[in-house]
Symmetry: C2
Subunit: 386 residues, 2 copies
Amino acid sequence: MLQDYQLLRIPGPTPIPPSVQQVMLAPMIGHRDQETKALLNRIQPKLKNIFGTLQDIAVIAGSGTAGLESAVVNTVNPGEDVLVLVTGSFGDRFARICKTYQLTVHRFDYDWGTALEPEQIKAYLSQNPSIKAIFATYCETSTGVLNPIRELAQVVKQVSDALFIVDGVSCVGAVETRMDDWGIDVLVTGSQKALMLPPGLTFVAANKRAWKKIEESKQARFFLDLRKYRDSSQQDSTPFTPALSLLYGLEQSLTLIESEGFPAVFQRHQVMKNMTRASMRALGIPLLTNDLVASPTVTALKPYDFQPDLLRKIVKKDFGLVLAGGQNQLKGKIFRIGHMGYCSPADVIQVISCIEIGMYKLGKKTSLGIGTKAAQDVYLNHIEGD
Amino acid sequence: MLQDYQLLRIPGPTPIPPSVQQVMLAPMIGHRDQETKALLNRIQPKLKNIFGTLQDIAVIAGSGTAGLESAVVNTVNPGEDVLVLVTGSFGDRFARICKTYQLTVHRFDYDWGTALEPEQIKAYLSQNPSIKAIFATYCETSTGVLNPIRELAQVVKQVSDALFIVDGVSCVGAVETRMDDWGIDVLVTGSQKALMLPPGLTFVAANKRAWKKIEESKQARFFLDLRKYRDSSQQDSTPFTPALSLLYGLEQSLTLIESEGFPAVFQRHQVMKNMTRASMRALGIPLLTNDLVASPTVTALKPYDFQPDLLRKIVKKDFGLVLAGGQNQLKGKIFRIGHMGYCSPADVIQVISCIEIGMYKLGKKTSLGIGTKAAQDVYLNHIEGD
């Protein structure tokens, strides 16, 4: 097989654009010098656009989970009641973090592959005024569900003063996100998904309501103390040594997103989602999620007549195509295709054609070209509709 | 001035070797795939050599402060007595983290520029058996002191069962470190100093005594929970998405260190320290620290007849040479030269000659060549002694 060749199509880490790689080669600079301050200053407005907020964004050197944890330890006091909405393994992670910090966790579990239900949550909140914060996942990476965050924000505000805290790790930058307009109080994302960077940065924004709580919170925290990031940010700095090479890349990746334009970026992800779903339907591979809640960034498939991990093995061996498997209760039952960030409709067609060959090798001799054509049709319809 | 030119000689971040830059360009891979497992598996023994331990090393995506915080929140229960030895701003950071987590902090403050005193600490420990952990800084970056950690470890064990926890961020990899032999219970370092990488990784190792306490500890922690890193490490994995590009670089930088050989690496840093100190003496710029406790990685100077920040401004403007200033109580009073990691004796001579020109511009017309010659003498004496 061709050496040093790989097609990485998991829902993060995602491939890095060449120009982003290029700028990350820049030499180290003094992390307290004017150059770093200027860089942080240039990055802030771009990040605010991605989040849809006027608030400063904390840029933390850490995995996405560090961002999620900061959203917990800064906003809630030990013992307080919180509602955690679990639609998959990342909702479950929020719940586990909350448990770790001795919060009283009210937990809603939805079948993996379905979305949370705003009206039901509204009813619960109106009967449980003790809830101080609600934790939700925007795109649930483990299932490919895009939860109706905008709708949920709306109903939450109608019945509750609780903070509305959202994990946007695997979609912010690829789908419309209007933190301020929608009324998200705290929003978290990470570098290695739609933002087209290596892992190692996580981003957290909080609005005025959240800041009131953050100021008062008695939960101990140091590295993840958002107050430290805000105070430093006001001087275009960070409280701890920032991950400089990733910051260089971040400025470029945000510039790429701006150059393409937000509507075009969102549209591209929609088209890639529709291409993927149409092709899988044509190939007779059941989709885990229904169309209404399907994420533009990742699609989960639940085959009934072949083992997904066997398919993954074949396409990895033949083409270096890396697909994701299932997590936790979905382990061995699904496979997932990432189509976000540095990914074009042409890449989606390539993935589909490789999957067809894999299915052929698994004995499904009639699959060749079927899914590819369906995806091509979606692409052409979209272009004609332009 | 020559554009895009910089000489970064602060005590971290430090310059990145070209071959390390090169490997960091490798594309993203699946963070749960065999390639990542194999990478982590190859990195572990190299890291163990750097730490001088047989224990697995937790590789955390985060700033060095995240590593320091993990050393606190995993080993000590709220309310317990700890002794924090403060010889500068990073010792102070340990104390602030301990305060944040409601520990009862016994604090020893030493004059900034001096080292901690093992015998005095021994006496205190024997009179204060309630102390459960001792926090010390190996190289205090803010002053250029290399604290006598080996000696301290020895006396601590004679009188106390307390865990001995060491911040090795700005020297591990450049000076001899024998965690197991010396009896360091928890050791922390970071990527952006002697390990020649961009910031964004921190490393933590704990020995069996420490693990006993870590298992029992009731302090809440999630992202920084060392148990999660250990459990994942046993499967060549990480609990949260690792900073992949930095891991690629880490393997190469550790390979570079091994190729040079530990004795040669340590010797090179000693020579660079001696060159720097001899030149500054020749130039009449007082050293902040005395020879016995001077760090091989960073040297602090306290001029009495010119403003250090003025000198820094001149050499930055003329040569792109970035020196560090003072922190906290030493702000405006000292300047610091980093000579660690990807830094050779030739680089030290260059820095000295630039400083001489800066002094000339500040009115000290007789300085040219004086410090350079002193450094050259040290270098040649060292070679002849080989």
